[in-house]
Amino acid sequence: MSTAVSPPLQRVSLPLERLRTLGLVLAIILIGLFFQSQRSTFLSSDNLLTLLRSMSSLGIIAFAQLSVILLGEIDLAVGAIYGLVSTSLAVLWLGGGNLPFSLPFLPALGAALLIGLFAGALSGFLTAYLKIHSFIATLGLLSLASGTELLVSNASTFNPAYNTPPPPSGELSFFQALGGTQLPFGVPIQVLWLALFFGVFWFLRHRSIVGFRLLAIGGNPKAAAIARLPIRRYRLVVFMVSALMASVAGILDFSYVGSVGPNSAGQLNLQVIAAVVIGGASLMGGRGTIWGTLLGAVLLAVLANGLALLGIGAFAQLLFVGFVTIGAVILDRVTSDLGNRRRGTATAAS
């Protein structure tokens, strides 16, 4: 049985998107070679595994953010939800902060995830049902989540291992397993989480009706309404998924780092959007792949890792992220203009 019988459903847009993906791979290789020429440790397996571990959260959140961006929406609250959920978990579980009570381990974990899911549902509800632009809705959520986090935790740092009273050792080792396990060949467990969610989101985006409809709704919402696609439900759910992935990433990072404090998300929020855009997604909706998003995250991780090896500080790294993001979008413009010209269509305007 030949596999050529059934080409992928998204084949049409592939030539251009494949070109983009190839370009991204090329860029990553070139940048990697440059770092290797400067620091021979860059391509060592230890460093590459560190690199992969460092991009795990970024990737996981970015896969979900891609679903949001495919719909032509944006979720600015993922960083804040990441912080809120990990901090909530710590406060609920360990006690302290401004909270007069604490919960047993499992209810605390469940409650933290529910808090994240609720935040996402709120963004989704505001966007899908009250028709508030997601930029504003999630900007509001960003402040709400950050404010709640700081209020509940009283801006203190939580470290389970040194907490008084110390949590049961079984609970501690659960988190150590979640974030600190070494798989065979010294592979950190974060690589497994990244691969797992990559698989799930790749299937949803490229092999299931979910991705098909995201593409349709995002590319032409009016036509989707006429075709009676469940637009509002999709809007609501992508924000919930986005928040859920931010929550999961927050808990995984809390497990790995072993502590959580204010502003734990750092630049994560903007990096997530940068990864999706570098990966070739259109902020107008209707275009973007999981592979591209992964590569976008890899590119950012390579930059951060390589620049750190070169001893360039975090502030200068931000500059590079800015250049790369803008450069990727310019490149995207140029290639898609070229593509349109080659097809010679009059649809360039649409």
Binding site: V5, S6, P7, P8, L9, Q10, R11, V12, S13, F203, R207, S208, I209, V210, F212, R213, L215, A216, G219, N220, K222, A223, A225, I226, A227, R228, L229, G286, R287, R343, T345, T347, S350
Partner: protein, 516 residues
Amino acid sequence: MTTTMEIRGVRKRFGNTQALAGVDLTLRGGEILGIAGPNGAGKSTLTKILCGEESMDSGEILVDGRPWKPGDVSDPIAIVHQEPQVWTNLTLEENLLVGNEGAWWRAPVAGDEQRRVLESLGVAHLADQPLERCTLAVRQRAEIARALVRSARFFLFDEPNSALTDEESHALFAFMHGLADQGYIVVFISHRLSEMVAHCHRVVVIRDGVLAATLTGDALTEPAIAVELVAGQTPRTERRVASRAADGDDSARVLTVTGWTDEPGSFRPLDLELRRGDVLAVVGVEGSGGRELVATLGGHRPATGDARLNGGQGAKALRERTSYLSADRQEMLFQHMSVGDNLVLRLGRREICGPFARLRRREIRSRSERMIERYAVRTSGPDQNLSALSGGNQQKVAIASAMATMPEVLVIEEPTRGVDIGSKAEIYTMLNEFAADGRAVVVFCTEAPEVFEVANRVMVLEGGRIVQELAVGDYDTVDAFAHALALLEGVETTQDRPANGRATLAGPSDSTEESS
């Protein structure tokens, strides 16, 4: 000073369709020229070329003997649209100043010229009103005023009064005559033949991309235009067998609505019954409520009243068991996706998915290939990008995708808008076969020949009211039918326009109503 414009040998091709096959036309100042033509005959292509929205493949346009390219900066041409292209967030006066602001260091100020133009249009008292608070008629004046300020010499009125009240229409026509009297070139396009006859000095009919006829003087009558519009249409070879179920048969009822109307009252509450095999054409000009009626029947526009469908009741059943297609292809197709994707997009998990919502691609592919073959969509295959298809083939894809869900009622606005003759026939066949399969089809139409080809019942709406129902079978020739329809469409129902109809939707008119 009178201006002349000579259009010489203008040709335009879209893919396989020769939209304009060499149009020669001389326009003279002081004359109101009507341009008529069936949909897809090249009329709208010509107007688009004149206003610079499309380029021409060959031919030339001379203004006062000098070559002129549409879209020139010193544009002498002004289009008055159904939907005026103005800035509703600015005041009437500010609208005249956009693009003509004066020195950068101070706020734009209207000069004598702007005031004179507003005065001459009778809207000077509204100069400082934001246009969002003005009626459609005032916005139209704003558009005309903008043209006058930049000394345009050529005015093209494209269905200008379709959403105006009768009073506003009369004022507009008076103004149109005024422009002509001052020596400007005035072109008037309308679906209402009676208005063409009443206001034009000369009417040209564009058919199949060429100037097919010119009517002036005594020859300029409604029946004459109606006959010219349908001339050359191939008479259908076989009369469709009357597939409609008998009236007494209750099980043959597909859709029944009673007391049916929409929120702004675009049309009066009405009762309607569709039976298996019915193809109902709703006919009416813009503002008649016909388009709105059709959208409510397709479940695309909220409505009140009782709806009973085969196996269901109410708005939910209507949405689930009908398919709707709008008049705008951009609005109902996914240009960024493939032909195959577009064909199956309306289908749900049950039809195209396996476990875990996985798309069954092989089945999707063979399904879309079958549809492509059955409806003769000219494409290289399901993987081809939809945007590469011609308008007619895109339309076939849109209709096929709407049929794929097997709705009880298929609702289509203007099924052959911008479609070449060949595809038109194929689309009529598609619709007829679908109805013959024991379902019902509702189309909103503006063209008599189309109605004649596709429908067995015709409902004519004017001013939100059903003027008459016709049975197409009562007419032997398309000419006779077109004549009958033209007479009905021309009916002016001054008293019966609904108070909240489109005409006054433009804003709270009480504060800014024209004094005239």
